[in-house]
């Protein structure tokens, strides 16, 4: 017994002394630790489609063009230095002296190989450029892209498309080798892929041969950690374990931002969070007056308050910052119980009951559904809520087993609203779960890319937006402001309005 407790005692002592020498402040200024909300399924730019995959692809690869985060209507040169549209044909002049991390030079062949592969694979962000018909190498520094129909948005959509190496694609592409891209990366970007420790982190190192300009005191090494638990990301950020964290729960973010040593970076990157989709095909939600009653009854204030005031109520689908947004010219959407009751009376559907399927795992979605339930109850409408896994929830409304579905939405394209409208409001769109259809809208969206005058496009966008608003297909409970707590020792973090939480490591620096 003596020996046993002796061992236990020694072990405890060892542990205690070990704890004592632990120091959370042992930061080396050249390594940046990012707490990401998940582990990538792939780091293949042709397949990446969630934020924690973009964390890697956006930093390791470059795109042909960039855009001004503060004014998305302004495109900036990146791998391409000049571009011009001539009807269906776009011509891009490529930057000189760019090399991939493996040393091979970047040229027009890489662009062609990348886009050909992307469209063939048809996953990830390919939908943004699915109107490309062909890619032609004019000379090593010039590439021509022909679209199926004239589109002014091609360049802005290419600001999301990462350029890969044609040698890699030749070597690792095709049916057999595609797997290589899932866990390897060779780009031209500001950071190079070093290693992926499964379950733990992906390590990147700074590419000092990058064509772009780093700030002073950039980070030489980036560790993209996978920290699935939101509270852990918050605690770790606050405790100095992490330098920045992805998706910190709002209350934690506000609290951390108010402690000394931290400040908040705020910005808008969501179109709606959440949006409530109503089923256009089955009663009672197939009745326009009924939908109108729900829109008018909804308690928007409650939703804004749930975001601790860090939200606005949208006037339509398109946020104010978006180039050509009609938001400022649209009427406010407000709770108006009298109007709601009148609309309900007009629908002739008093005492109606409806079912709402909510994807599980999103407290805000659930909360919005609960507000809808309470608001509807005020006008005598019963809402039943069922929480289901995402695919089940969206299938429920698509197969008419539910009247309503809750979703958050954003738009990856900095200038092009047509992709968003297609997915959400046009026939066959994946998220058009309530099966909204409007021929006029269809026509507007089809025509929009071919219109070269921005003012004319803005007018069309307003019409399109009004069609959706007036149909009462969607209830937009709130458009929250994204709040990111940044340690004072770090600078340069900016919120990309067209991407839900981004990390441009190349803009970050230590103070």
């Amino acid at each position: 017994m003596k020996s046993l407790s002796g061992i236990a005692g020694t072990a405890l002592l060892l542990m205690a002394s070990a704890m004592g020498v632990n120091s959370a402040s042992a930061q080396d200024a050249t390594t940046f630790v990012y707490a990401d909300a998940g582990e990538p399924s792939t780091i293949d730019p042709a397949k990446a489609n969630v934020n924690w995959e973009f964390t890697v692809t956006r930093n390791v690869y470059d795109r042909l063009v960039d855009f001004d985060l503060d004014d998305p209507s302004r495109l900036l040169p990146a791998l391409a230095t000049e571009w011009k549209q001539d009807g269906k044909v776009w011509t891009f002049k490529l930057r000189d002296g760019v090399t991939f991390h493996d040393g091979t030079p970047f040229d027009a062949n890489d662009v062609k190989a990348t886009l050909d592969r992307l469209l063939k694979v048809g996953q990830g962000q390919s939908y943004l450029v699915d109107d490309i018909a062909s890619v032609t190498v004019v000379d090593p520094k010039t590439v021509q892209i022909e679209t199926k129909a004239p589109t002014v948005f091609l360049a802005s959509n290419l600001s999301r498309i990462e350029m890969m190496s044609d040698e890699d694609i030749a070597k690792h592409g095709g049916e057999a080798g595609e797997a290589w891209f899932s866990e390897n990366a060779n780009g031209t970007g500001p950071y190079a892929f070093v290693a992926w420790t499964r379950g733990t982190q992906i390590e990147l190192k700074r590419n000092d041969k990058w064509w772009g300009k780093f700030p002073e005191k950039p980070f030489d090494r980036v560790l993209d950690r996978f920290v699935t638990d939101g509270a852990n990301r918050a605690r770790g950020l606050e405790g100095g374990e992490f330098d920045l964290a992805n998706f910190v729960p709002l209350d934690e973010a506000l609290r951390i931002g108010s402690t000394s040593g931290f400040h908040l970076v705020e910005g808008n990157n969501l179109w709606a969070w959440p949006a409530i989709y109503l089923n256009m095909d089955i009663p009672p939600t197939n009745n326009k007056d009924f939908r109108n009653a729900l829109v008018k009854a909804f308690d928007y204030n409650a939703m804004v308050q749930s975001f601790q005031g860090k939200a606005v109520v949208g006037r339509g689908p398109i946020p104010a910052w978006f180039p050509g947004s009609p938001e400022k010219d649209q009427p406010e959407i407000k709770t108006d119980l009298e109007a709601a009751k009148a609309a309900l009376a007009a629908s002739g559907l008093s005492n109606a009951t409806m079912k709402c399927s909510v994807p599980a795992g999103f407290p805000e979605f659930r909360f919005a559904a609960t507000i809808l339930q309470a608001s509807a109850a005020q006008i005598g409408v019963t809402v039943e809520i069922e929480e289901l896994p995402f695919v089940e929830a969206i299938t429920a409304i698509k197969t008419d087993k539910s009247n309503c579905f809750v979703l958050g939405n954003a738009n990856l394209s900095p200038q092009d609203a047509t992709k968003f409208f297609s997915a959400h409001y046009l026939k066959g769109g994946f998220f058009n779960s309530g099966k909204f259809e409007d021929p006029a809208l269809q026509e507007l969206i089809a025509k929009l890319p071919s219109v070269s005058d921005p003012a004319e496009r803005a007018a069309m966008l307003k019409q399109a937006s009004d069609i959706v608003v007036d149909s009462h297909y969607i209830i937009w409970p709130a458009r929250p402001v994204t709040v990111v707590p940044e340690p004072d020792r770090i600078g340069g973090y900016r919120i990309d309005p067209a991407e839900y939480i981004n990390a441009r490591f190349w803009e970050l620096y230590s103070k």
Binding site: Q123, G239, F430
Partner: protein, 337 residues
């Protein structure tokens, strides 16, 4: 004995098969579509269909089942849709982390529960006994996740003594992977600082498991010891002039070992079920976290594999117990001999 073990082994294989069958069909009951997850939110239906075909998800259920079982019989645990690798590769990667955590926790648990139970049983009803009983009672009432978070809050957030999660200090370079057990790999690399870092990261998740195990384990062991102490052979031992130490360690303990072992097997079972929670709380890159993340995107194969692996763990432990019982207690005949 060999015969008996073979029989037990065959039985174990049967159990594993059953678990594979049940989890296979259970997982397919959920109408979720992992292919949609792979394709991305704006992929066309055609792309999703292509991926379904790639993973065989478009085939009839019976066909999927047959090919899964055929693969399984060859040791093929299938493909993970989320990690895009074979489940076996993933398991090989994540299993050492889990085993390291389990083995360290269980060793600490064994030593601690043993010391505590013995201390309590030496003077039943005494102060130490009372304190231990109170502590174990409190320990039983605390849910694992709550305890884990409380420990994080205390030791990471408030005291800055220990890290919040993961297996190794973030900013340090981990020793080269040889065994996958960081304790061993650190030692192989001859790096005391790596070992220290590893131990620090192990401390909280292990403590979470240990505290939860201790509560029940100490109580059971204490009860077994106290019950054995009232046996007649203890009076005989005293009658010979033996001291309390010899009586406790040579006579009582050996007899109490069987019930303690039974309790320990049960505890091991609990531990396997807690490991998922603990790994999620502490971002511990083991098979628990792996299965949890796979489950979230309806990636079936890793979930079935986890069920099979943990069942295999159970079967092995039980087999080990069957071998151990007759050694501990000569009255227990090994069933087959």
């Amino acid at each position: 004995m060999v015969n008996f073990l073979l029989k037990r082994f065959a039985w174990g294989i049967l159990v594993l098969l059953l678990v594979a069958v049940i989890t296979f069909f259970l997982s397919r009951v959920v109408p979720a579509d992992p292919a949609a997850f792979l394709a991305g939110q704006n992929a066309s239906e055609a792309t999703v269909q292509k991926i379904r075909a790639e993973y065989g998800l478009d085939r009839p259920l019976t066909e999927q089942f047959v090919s899964y079982m055929v693969g399984l019989s060859k040791g093929d645990l299938g493909q993970s849709i989320r990690t895009r690798r074979s489940v076996s590769t993933d398991l090989a990667q994540y299993l050492p982390a889990t085993l390291e955590l389990l083995l360290v926790s269980f060793t600490i648990y064994l030593i601690a529960s043993f010391s505590l139970a013995v201390t309590a049983a030496r003077h039943p009803g005494g102060f130490v006994d009372g304190a231990i009983r109170l502590l174990t009672m409190v320990g039983t009432g605390i849910p694992v996740f709550w305890l884990g978070m409380a420990l994080q809050f205390m030791f990471f957030y408030k005291l800055h003594w220990l890290p919040i999660g993961a297996r190794f200090p973030i900013r340090e370079t981990a020793p080269p992977v040889v065994t996958g057990f960081l304790i061993i790999d650190s030692m192989l690399a001859g790096s005391p600082s790596a070992l220290l870092g590893t131990l620090k990261h192990l401390a909280l998740p292990a403590l979470t498991i240990v505290i939860n195990l201790l509560a029940v384990g100490t109580r059971l062991s204490r009860a077994a010891l106290i019950q054995e102490q009232s046996r007649l052979y203890v009076r005989t031992a005293r009658g010979k002039g033996l001291g309390p130490r010899v009586i406790l360690y040579k006579h009582v303990l050996r007899n109490a070992l069987s019930p303690i072992l039974t309790a320990t097997t049960m505890q091991f079972g609990y531990m396997i079920s807690w490991v998922i929670l603990v790994e999620v709380i502490f971002d511990w890159p083991g098979i628990g976290l792996y299965a949890y993340q796979s489950f979230q995107v309806f990636d079936y194969s890793p979930v079935i594999a986890l069920a099979i692996v943990s069942t295999a763990g159970f079967v092995l432990i039980n087999l080990l117990m069957d071998i151990l019982y007759p050694i501990i207690d000569p009255r227990v005949q090994s069933v087959g001999s």
